[in-house]
């Protein structure tokens, strides 16, 4: 009886939490009782039907039916909840002021009301079918009807209480705060759902190159604990996420946030899509010296998505087409600190993608821009290699910038050190320099030097190192699209004959 109670409690808690957040977020939506009840009813009916056909679903699609079914439900739920969250956000002002007429209310309330019932229906369908199957299994294994019934009732009651407390707690906040908090909870919920959907597809055999586990936090919070399971259903917490789950989570999170920030500026959505599409076009292979040059100055509240790519050109095939591609998401937390999460990847000859590393970078601005003779800052980054046998790296750089009239010079000086199990060698020093003429906002031409001074014995010999110099252009287009592009000549034996890089960044503000 106790095990029945616990398991039912956990399932009900999952439903109750999702419902609590969604109901609190849609509070004030007129006529929603109808939608809630219809959602409930259809969810329960659906759960019953699913339980009946469980065997058939499992065996469908070469035994991957269960995974596909789950993935479809999860992605659908993510899309519907996500759309509702965005709708709620854009209509937040109207809802808080409560000015509209009743008739109008119902007309405009219809669409989110319908999605509300779908959300509830889907949540109940997922958990409900699990509960039905579980009870069926308990009956088959000879548990007494009385013990199962009492256990279920206890579980349902406790789960409902917990969910109601969450709902009441959420609605107690001021209307404005509540919309903000539930808004964020919904965003995290959608990201969690989408990443679980990806996880199911990964279990079904897709994304095989992206299915390596990225980290394991079960020592910190186990997914089987009550808190862990609650966090799992609320924000998609998982102790051992794989690459594709992390990517879907971050991608959905930032996609939702960007869309919510943009009200009717469709041009900007197209620009973000363009940046991501750019990332998919090029032809990569392995790492080289070229990198982005960072300014020490941070912009508070700036959120941006960036594509960064570079490649070499050389007659010698061993030095030709050495590439690096990266997609990054950055956010300026305050006026002194910016964080960036990025993924490094490459495209294989057979058009599939290999994800190579995940990096977390922090940039700190020391002083106010222009306060001293030179602007300065510091970068520290940790790069986690995905493949077995590759080493993680820790990177630190001093960032300097000086304006003299319309001429801006930026320098990044630092080193990278391999750490962890596969680490080898001492620090690898790098030196990057750019001097440009700020002709106007769109076009700032200049000269750039990129040098990788190497590790250990390489540090003594110019020709063992990679040195490049060449023209570079920086600028900003359409007010939100920053770019950096350079074409270089190698000036040491270690460098390739030529190299090129391009960076495109779309920035938004909060």
């Amino acid at each position: 009886m106790l095990s029945t109670a616990i398991i039912i409690f956990r399932e009900i808690l999952e439903i109750a939490m999702i419902l609590g957040v969604v109901l609190a977020a849609t509070r004030g939506l007129p006529g929603r009782a109808v939608w809630i009840i219809s959602g409930f009813g259809s969810g329960l009916a659906g759960a019953g039907i699913v339980a009946l056909f469980a065997g058939a679903i499992s065996n469908a699609a070469s035994g991957m039916g269960q995974e596909f079914f789950n993935a479809i439900i999860l992605f659908t739920a993510a899309i519907v909840i996500g759309w509702t969250a965005i709708w709620m956000r854009t209509h937040a002002r109207e809802m808080v002021s409560q000015i509209r007429q009743v008739g109008q209310d119902i007309a405009t309330g219809k669409l989110p009301g319908f999605s509300l019932s779908i959300i509830i229906g889907l949540a109940i369908l997922r958990e409900g079918s699990e509960i039905v199957l579980f009870i069926y299994g308990m009956i088959l294994s000879g548990q007494s009807a009385a013990s199962i019934t009492i256990g279920s009732i206890i579980g349902v009651v406790l789960g409902t209480i917990a969910g109601t407390m969450l709902y009441l707690g959420l609605i107690k906040m001021s209307a404005r705060m509540m919309l903000k908090v539930t808004g964020w909870l919904l965003v995290l919920l959608v990201a969690g759902l989408s990443s679980q959907g990806a996880g199911n597809l990964s279990a079904a055999g897709y994304f095989s190159s992206l299915s390596a586990t990225v980290w394991n936090t079960s020592w910190l919070l186990s997914e089987d604990s009550v808190v862990g399971k609650a966090l799992h259903s609320l924000i998609g917490y998982t102790a051992r996420p794989n690459v594709i789950e992390v990517l879907f989570y971050l991608g959905t999170l930032l996609g939702m946030v960007s869309i919510m920030a943009i009200t009717s500026r469709r041009k900007e959505i197209a620009a973000v899509a363009a940046v991501i599409v750019l990332a998919l076009i090029a032809q990569p292979e392995n790492a080289n010296a070229l990198d982005e040059i960072y300014s020490p100055n941070v912009e508070q509240g700036e959120l941006s998505v960036e594509y960064n790519g570079s490649r070499t050109f050389d007659a010698n095939p061993a030095k030709n087409n050495s590439q690096e591609q990266e997609v990054a998401f950055e956010y300026g937390i305050n006026s002194r600190w910016e964080v960036e999460v990025s993924g490094g990847f490459e495209k294989n000859p057979d058009e599939t993608f290999t994800f190579n590393d995940l990096e977390l970078e922090n940039r700190f601005q020391f002083f106010e821009a222009g306060e001293y003779w030179m602007d300065s800052g510091f970068l520290v980054a940790y790069d986690h290699a995905i493949h077995q046998g590759d080493a993680d790296t820790l990177e630190t750089k001093l960032l300097l910038q000086k304006d003299i009239g319309r001429i801006t010079t930026t320098a990044n000086i630092g080193f990278e050190q391999e750490v962890g199990v596969n680490a080898a060698g001492g620090p690898d020093y790098v030196f990057l320099w750019n001097t440009r003429y700020r002709y106007n906002e769109y076009f700032q031409p200049g000269i750039e030097i990129q040098s990788d001074l190497g590790q250990d014995s390489e540090l003594r010999h110019w020709n063992d190192q990679e040195h490049y110099i060449g023209p570079a252009v920086y600028g900003r287009l359409f007010g939100h699209l920053n770019y950096q592009a350079g074409y270089y000549v190698g000036v040491s034996d270690g460098a390739a004959s030529n190299a090129a890089r391009i960076l495109v960044e779309y920035e938004m503000h909060f």
Binding site: E368, A369, L400, F415
Partner: protein, 109 residues
């Protein structure tokens, strides 16, 4: 790590060596509704200036200028400090990045 500490020491010295004191408090730009005042601000040439930008609106703004190479967010009903200069004589324009039609001019002589 000898090499990096030497590098950082040199860099730090270079940065603080030029800490020229700025003229504070005299130069204020105020944003109210959709305009900056004064519409044209005069600044002396070849001096570092400490500019105060005040936002009297109930929504945040961003003081930005490609001529001056500065971009900084000013919260609603707040003010920020922006260092500019030493500047050569000439005309410099700036704008509110959150509402680009709002622009202002700085004349340096």
């Amino acid at each position: 790590m000898k090499r990096t500490s030497l590098l950082s020491a040199i860099a730090f010295m270079a940065i603080t060596l030029g800490a020229v004191t700025a003229q504070a408090g005299d130069y204020v730009i105020t944003l109210k509704d959709d305009s900056f005042s004064p519409a044209t601000l005069s600044l002396p040439a070849n001096q570092k200036i400490e500019l105060t930008v005040k936002n009297m609106n109930t929504s945040p703004a961003e003081f930005e200028s490609s001529d001056l190479n500065r971009e900084k967010v000013v919260g609603a009903n707040s003010e920020i400090t922006v260092f500019v200069g030493p500047l050569d004589a000439g005309t410099y324009t700036y704008f509110n990045d959150f509402h680009r039609e709002t622009t202002g001019t700085i004349v340096v002589k």
